[in-house]
Structures are given as C-alpha cells and as structure tokens.
Symmetry: C2
Subunit: 607 residues, 2 copies
C-alpha cells in the first residue's frame, strides 16, 4: 500500500501518543434503542437488556480519529440507562464517558441522549452499561478502532476474529443487587451448573450439528453461564432425556448456537478478545495453537508467545494465531474460569478450518484451563506484558502517590468492599455537574486518606472490620503525575484474598510493577519498571499483593477508578478522581439536568 | 359524644361536599424509603418493592381535613418511582397525584420528593405505585381516613378490620412488561397453581397451627397468588413431602402466615376492603355471615345486605358484619376470582371468635366463590349500589358527552388495548409541566375522537383490528359537567369480552347507569339514574355492556382515567383529562424538573 509521504510521516511520529486526524476522519452515526427483551444466551430464556433487539449490542467499527455519534434512546420501562465506552479516553469530552452519577445523569425512560466522542487510538475496546449492575444484565458490545486510513498496524495478519467474553446469571440483576445489599449478605454465587451435568464437549457436538440441520429436539438439563459473543452452551442434552424432572426444549434456540470462527489454513489471524464479565476472571486457549500477544487495552505490547491468555474483566487483548495445524480437523476454543473455584463448564467455540464443515467434531479434546488457583501461571503471563518499542515512557517521577488499601468489611450487618476503610457510595447528582458548578456539600466529606497504616497486616482479616461509606473523591491537579499503589489484603474470612482488576476512566496508565505483601515504598519503589512498562486502562492486583500504576492527570473531568467486578463495585470498591475541574469545557446541559445541578441551572447558574 | 353546636352544624351541612377543617385538622408526617427487598408473600421468596422494609407499605391513618406529608426517598437502584393516593381527589394539589409522566416526573434513585395533600373526605382508600407496573411489584398500602374529630359516621360499629386484597405473580414485573410488549404477544397468565395442588383448607389449617407453635417443617408444593394484607397461602404442604422434585422449606415463613381477624361475639365490625390487584376481579365472603354494604370508594352508599361482595381492582368498600353466629367456632373469610376462569385457589383468612384459639379449625368449609362467569350475580350486586341519602345529586344535564369505545387491537404484531381506536402512550415529559408551560407539541396529536361509529358491532371482534398509538388527551373546560360513556366490546378472539374497572383521578363521578350492547343515547339516556346514583372513583364495564359516568370538571389539573387492570393500562387502555390548566396553581418545580419542562425552566420559563 503506497501513501503520500507527508501522511505517513505524520502518522508514524504520533503513532503512540495522540493519534491525529491523519487522512479522512469520519463522523459515524448510530441510532440505538436500549430495551429489555427475551433472550436465551445459554438455552434458558430470560429477560436481558439489548440494543436494537440484539444481544450483545451492535459492534461499532471505526478508524482512529473518527467521531462516534450514538443517539441513545432509553426504551426501558422504569429504569435509567447510560453507556460507558470502555478504554476510550474521552479527551475533552468527559461528559460522554457514560458513568451514571459521575459524568452524567442517567437517561430517563423515553428520553434520548447523544454520545459524541473521538476514538483517538486504534485498538480493541468495548462498551457497556455503567448504572446499577446493568452490565451484568447484558448491556454491552464491541467497539473496534482500526488504524487511521493509510496507516498500518505494527504487525501483519490476514484476517480478524472477534471474541467478546462475558458471564451470565439466571437471576435478574434486580435480585442480584438486592442480594448484595441484604442483611445478612447473600453472595450471588458463581455461574452455576445444575445437577444434570453433561460434559460440554458432548453437548457442543450435538449443538454444533445444528449448523447443518434445521432443528433438533433436546431436553433441558444444565445451565452454562460463560458466554462467547453472547452465546453459552445449551440448557439441553440428550443424556437428560432419561433424567426425570428435566423439562423439554422442543426446539434448539439459535440465540445460543455455538460461535464458529471460520479460518483458512496457513494464514495468520488477529483474535480480538475482550472481557466484560460481571465476576469471572477467565483464561482462553485454542487447541494446539500458540498465541502471540500484540495488544492490550488499545496499546501495543512487546509481542510474546503463550499457550493461553488470562483475561480479567475490563481487559482486552489482541493475539495473533497462525493456522498451521492439521487442516482436516477443527479445533476448540476454550474459555474457563480463573481465580475462583469454577462452578461452571468452560465456554467453547469452534475454530473451523475451511473447507471442513463447522459441525465436524474436533479430533482433540478442548484445552484444559489451568487450575483456578495456579496464580504462578497468572503472574507469569501478566508479568510478561511490556510496552512495545515506541510506547511513550512514563515520567521519571511522580508528583503525588495515592495508596489504596482494598479490604472487605462490615457495616451495620452489610458486607462492603472499602478503600482505605471507606466504601464508595455515589451521589444522586452527578459529580461532573455539581463540581463544575461548585455546589456546596459535593466535597463536604473529609478528604479521603492517601495512605493507610504501615502496621496493617495484609495477610490476615482486618483487625477492625468496621467500615463507613463516603464519596472517595480525590481532587487531582492538572498535569500532575500520579502514582497509585493498589494494595490487596486478606478478606473477612481467613486465608482468602481475591483478584481485583482495577479500571481507570479517562486515561491509560503505565503498569509500573507488581509485588507480594505490604508495599514498602523505600524497598519496593526501586523494583518498578521505568523502562518499558505497558500502557493499559485495567490492571489486576493479585491476592495479598500490590500493583503500582502511574498516570498523568492531563484530561480534565471526573473519572471513576474502580474494581471492574460488577458486584464489587456495587459493594463500594472504587474511588473518584476529580481532575482539574476548572479546565473542563462547557458541559452540555442535557448531560447533567438532574438533581441539585438541575435546580442550580433553573436558578440561573451557568455551566 | 357532645359537640359544640357550631362545629356540629358546620360539619353536617358540608358532610357530603367538601369536608372543611372542622375541629383540629392535623399535619401528619411520614418518612418513607422505597426499596427492593426479598419477601415471601406466598411462601416462595421473590424480590418485591417495599416501603421502610415492610410489605405491604405502612398504613396511613388520618382524619378528614388532615394534611398528609410523605417524604419519599427512592432507594431503588436504577428505577424511578412515584406513589398515587388512590381515591384522594388532590383538590388544588394536582402535582401530588403521583402519576409518572402525567402529574410529575418519576423520582430518581437516591432522590427524595415530598407529597403534601389534604385528605378531605373520610373513607377507605389505598396508595400504590403508578409507574410502569410497580403496583404489581408490591408497591401499595392502605390509607384510611376517619371522620373529622367530633363527627360521626352515619352507621354504628364496635370495631374495625382492614383487608387490602391483591394478587401476586412469581415472574418479575420486568418480565411481565416485556411479555406484554412482545411480538408475538405473551399473556402473563392468571395467577397460577402448579401441579401439586392441595386443597387450600388443608394447607390453611396446617399453617394456621403455626400461630400456636413456633415453626413447622413443610415442603414446597404449590403457589397461591391471591393475597390478603400481603399474605398468600404457603408454597408448602404436608402432602408434597411425598412428591419427588419439590423443594424443602426448612421453616415456615411468617411473611405469609395467614391473616387472623380477632372478633368478640355479638358485636358489629366494619370491614374495610380494598382491591389493588394487578389483574384479578375478586369476590369476598365470610362463612355464615351477612354483609351490609355502607361505603364504596370513600362515599357512603344506601346500606344493603348481601352474602358476598364483588370487588374489582381499584374498588374499596366498607361492609358491616355482626358476629351473631355460634361463638364456639371460627369462620373462613374467602376471596376468590371473578370474570376470568380462575387458575388459583381462593385466599383465606380466619374470622377468629375470641376466646377461641386462632388455630381452631373452622367447623364449616370456606364459602364458595360464585362461578367466575356468573355475571348476573355480579350485576345484581353492582346495580344495588346507590348513593346514601344526603349524597349530592348530579347536575341535571351534561355540557359534554365523551364516548369511549374499549377495544382490543393489533399494531405491528403487538396486541394493544385502544380507546376509540387509539392506544394510549405516555410522554417522556409529564403533562402537568409541559401543558402548564404551553410547550409545543405536547398536544400536537390530533384531538382524540369523542365518539365512535354508530355502526360498530360490539358483539364481534373488530372488523378492522389495526390501531395506532397516541396521547388520548381530552382538554376539559373549567366546571363543565362531563358525561363519559364507557362502551365495552368483543376482544380480538370470538366470544370474548372482558370486565374493565375504570378509575378516574382527581374526582369522584356519579355512576349514572349500566346497560347491555351498544349505547344508544336516544334510547338509553332516559334509563340513567338521576335520583340517587352512587359517587365513586372506580366503575366497571361488564362484558358487551356500557356504563355512563358524570362528573364536574371542577379540579384543575391533568388526570388519568384508565382501566385499573395493570397489564391493560400498560397495553394502552386509558385517556388523559387536561382540565382547566390555566387555573392550576403554582406547580412545585421539583415535581416537573425533567425532560422538556426542565429544559424550558433552565431557559427561564416560569411555572
């Protein structure tokens, strides 16, 4: 492909910083309607939240520099809605970040709100609801940004495959939210398999056959709740026909037909993989195929080859896969659970070497997911992720260090997740409006702590398990370089410490390093990677460990920073960065016309 | 009781018109929080909407002339909420009527709205959600207004018993709303009894025994979905212990313990009975006892004696019952389904003659509910309801007649209920604000028709089943006397015509008459009752029949008039009366700060 020299130079020089509108940036318009609908993601029909009658929602495909316009109508009956564009930094458009109570008012039923933002950087992204637990209700989809016209990726491939991973509960999010807020606390449980469990390969084979036939009579037997592109395995199996008490499925439902990935032999494919799970940490492998990791969260990484990848909620990756195996066979793509004892079977898709039929049974069993508690495997993978040559390096030092201790606590009989012993609650009036207008009491609460006791024993349950709730708003100065130390600890029960993937809105951060135990700045700061840390928007803290992130507060707005596990966020695991509010441009009134901000605007205030 | 003469005269003269604040009218303050919670209304645990952790919500008890203040906090996670005070006319306070999209904006999560209104007239009322189908989710409670201090009811009694009737689905209202809006349409079904049906009396007896013991082990077997004061029978029975596949209830749940009505022998009790069912038309009887009907919808009626009463959704009655039966026995109160083939067992309560134990098994079987389709029985009851002497008579003639044909129709594969062939949809911006501000396009739709074709054959499915949607807003002139002819017809299926109880907000109306077939003004007007029609706020149309109502448009505001069956309203069965908007007082801004009204107010408009 030949390019005019000027464009090529322009795009190369800026390739890793801010992608300018080289060549023809476009406005891309979408008209969406969000509504509840019946769907059978895993064979059992439930009500979920879809967009334009689809689940998952439509894929947005654009080029770097394009402006996306999504005219979003809320057609839910009584619920508000917003959509967050996960990984898009929203430079200059903080009101389009789609976080209820933070960057905007929830869109009321029958109302329409238009999101307008620039996708400045190529990469694998996704979007999802960010109000209550609407993400877990199915409100998500893919957002893929190609390099600008005339540019090239720093790696070659012949074709692309897209996998959006999620998990799916049979209980509604309303029930889930009540359970998590209940006294006594009720854990919503892992995605479950009921008693009539049948090996998924057998079921898959039966269901893949559907691709060649019209309808097959199956009998309901089990629930599988990991989804690939919104599809889980059937709540059906032949074996269950002989099991009393199971109910008849008269027909197979195409909504949960297995995903088939058609490929040609001896080609290289880019698999775009993103996880919008509510809870599950996942691992993905493709039978007999190596994977070369080349992108993480919309940033290029130094390529490395693995047998499988770990992927946490909020993560996205691109991996290259070469179809160099026996072309007469198909192969399983297998997605299993990490970090929690799995109670569900892996999700499976079919890598279909053409011209084999999609329904041709793979000759090999699906790859086994590593043991859920093999953290050495997880760390080995995560620690290998480095910025690709050309990734801008982090500033040499930070202006401020914020240490965030993650603990599980109790409050009045409820269970909460807390940061420095304060569990985050969101206000009725979104911060972006109330802070911009300087409304009283928005920041009334005490400044949240920036550190925690050096004597805190992260290996034991909290000595004082009691917590309080608060706003957890950290005010950041424009262009300060901020280090965040995420410190994990033991939960309420002995010998339990969980994985938490933290996601930052409005920025990428450099992942400076990981370690075990209590972070000690004097000792541990020198171990940080200042040479080639990867740029990301989501980073994990491992059990009993710490992770250090660095970012530059160069994007005025109000940004959420939180554990991406939906129930954990619901239970308070997050903070807010109020960044250089005085520099935020004119906030569109329609984004913040509710609560105290609406009252102030009606009284003559100006944004 | 002795009263100062002046007060007595004052209260007597105005007794049936507007109850003045004779004696000490009080302000009564309530602080409520609406939230989702786990509850087991019939033994099976579900999520419903409660108030202050209670289901049904707290009973409001006040005296005529009092001002009620309800400070309502919405603690739902993502849903708006409003509460309608059913039967309270809201004279001068149309913004407190609690109808989303009509009289106010839904209260957003975490926001608080204060309802302030006068209960001007003694009677048996209730309150309930009026947004989406939140009433069916359990958002309701009793509102009982006693005569003003120093006044007396026109009948005597020794004690009072309160029965709030409802029905209960195991599917969430979100699922119900999606089902009703689906293409193809899915009927949500009657309240159901599953296969392991056990005669309710047997189960009741088992469960009543709980009153004397602490806990009993039962086994889940069936679902009963008629509720008395929020309690249905257990999802448990001893018989089911031998039925494989049923699940164990380890303990009996007091949330569904049967209602016990303790009485002394040889006394007269006032039973206040109100129905807030989503769907079911009901009949109530008390074994071996006669009932004297004395009040309907907060208005006194000419007393008459019956064995049982029919009660439709939206109705309330007071009946007097004398405990003149064998005092060594208890008696069943039985509530069964009318107008639709019942798929559920009757709800039962115990009339407990003291000092018998509450758990003493009544010696007689519960009274049988009349056959569901015995409309002659229903009509005989309904036609006997007349205004008590002293009830103000209706104006002799009407200024305007509005004829409303009720039909079931199709639209783009959906099923709708339509009025004069237009199915009502509500706007994003509540009418009270948009009409008060004269916002464009609020009334943009064509004026709805005030009559329908004289040739329409009400005995057959609609010749043209297609319908459209619209606002159905009728603009009423101040103080006009309006006749409404509610005309029933055949539904989409042959030989089906349903009962519809229509409820008017903001007013009582006189029920002028009922008839069969197509209303013919020339022929039928002369049959109307101009002498002693009852004043009510809810009136039924019988299958294939008509009902004529008369009211005076003397209460400026925007008022819903609709079928009180929740799924029918959801499917469009209603109209709006926009009444003398120019005379509406200053609408509190917080009631209408959303949508186009909020925008106008921010642009400097004044209410």
């Amino acid at each position: 492909m030949r390019l005019p020299l000027l464009v090529a130079v322009c795009c190369t020089v800026w390739a890793f910083v801010v992608r300018p509108h080289c060549a023809e940036a476009k406005a891309r318009h979408f008209k969406w309607e969000v509504s509840n609908m019946f769907w059978s993601p895993d064979g059992e029909e439930k009500v979920l939240i879809g967009i334009n009658g689809q689940f998952p929602g439509p894929t947005i495909r654009a080029r770097a520099g394009d402006t996306i316009h999504v005219e979003l109508k809320n057609a839910l009956h009584t619920e508000g809605v917003v959509i967050h564009w996960h990984g898009i930094r929203q430079i200059g458009t903080p009101w389009a970040d789609g976080t209820a109570a933070i960057s905007q008012c929830a869109i009321n039923p029958e109302e329409t709100f238009t999101y307008r933002f620039v996708v400045d950087k190529p990469g694998t992204y996704f979007y999802h609801g960010h109000y209550g637990m609407q993400r877990a209700a199915g409100l998500y989809g893919s957002l893929i940004v190609d390099v600008a016209e005339g540019e090239e990726e720093p790696f070659k491939y012949d074709g692309e495959l897209n996998l959006l991973l999620s998990d799916w509960y049979h209980e509604s999010i309303h029930t889930q939210m009540v359970a998590l807020s209940s006294k006594p606390f009720r854990w919503i449980g892992e995605p479950q398999v009921p008693s009539h469990f049948v090996h998924p390969v057998f079921v898959m084979w039966q269901t893949v056959k559907m691709l060649d036939h019209d309808r097959i009579e199956f009998v309901a037997a089990w629930i599988l709740s990991l989804l690939i592109n919104g599809r889980g395995q059937f709540n059906c199996s032949l074996a269950a026909a002989h099991t009393p008490g199971t109910k008849q499925c008269v027909t197979v439902n195409r909504q949960c037909a297995p995903v088939v990935l058609p490929v040609q032999p001896n080609k290289t494919y880019r698999l775009r993989v993103a996880s919008t799970t509510s809870l599950a940490s996942l691992n993905l492998a493709v039978g007999n195929h190596k994977l070369t990791v080349v992108e993480a969260d919309g940033n290029y990484v130094d390529p490395f080859v693995v047998d499988d990848i770990d992927i946490y909620s909020g993560d996205s990756y691109s991996v290259l896969l070469t179809t160099d195996q026996n072309p007469s066979s198909n192969y399983w793509v297998s997605v299993g659970v990490r970090g929690r004892q799995p109670k569900t079977a892996p999700a499976l898709a079919v890598l279909n070497y053409r011209p084999n039929r999609a329904s041709k049974m793979p000759s090999m069993a699906p790859p086994m997911t590593p043991a859920w508690n093999d953290y050495a495997h997880s760390k080995a993978f995560t620690y290998r992720i480095r910025g690709r040559a050309g990734t801008p390096p982090p500033p040499a030092s930070a202006d401020r260090r914020i240490e965030l201790l993650n603990t599980q606590n109790r409050m009045d009989g409820h269970i909460k997740w807390s940061i420095n012993n304060v569990s985050m609650v969101l206000p009725a009036t979104p911060y972006l409006g109330s802070l911009k207008l300087g409304l009283k009491s928005t920041l009334a609460a005490a400044r949240p702590a920036e550190t925690f006791s050096r004597g805190y024993d992260v290996t034991r349950p909290p000595a004082n398990p009691n917590t309080t709730v608060g706003g957890n708003v950290y005010v950041l100065r424009h262009n300060d370089t901020v280090d965040v130390v995420l410190q994990n600890a033991n939960a309420l029960a002995h010998n339990v410490s969980e994985v938490h993937p933290w996601h930052l809105h409005g920025h990428d951060f450099w992942v400076m390093g990981y370690g075990e135990g209590h972070y000690d700045h004097g000792r541990d700061a020198k171990t940080l990677n200042k040479v080639n840390p990867p740029l990301r928007n989501t980073a994990v803290i491992f059990p009993y460990g710490w992770t250090v992130l660095r970012f530059v507060a160069d994007n005025p707005g109000v940004w959420a920073f939180h554990c991406h596990i939906e129930p954990h966020l619901h239970m308070g695991m997050g903070v807010i960065f109020a960044e250089a509010i005085e520099r935020v441009g004119k906030v569109p009134r329609e984004a913040v016309s509710c609560g105290a901000t609406a009252t102030a605007l009606m009284n003559g205030a100006h944004l």
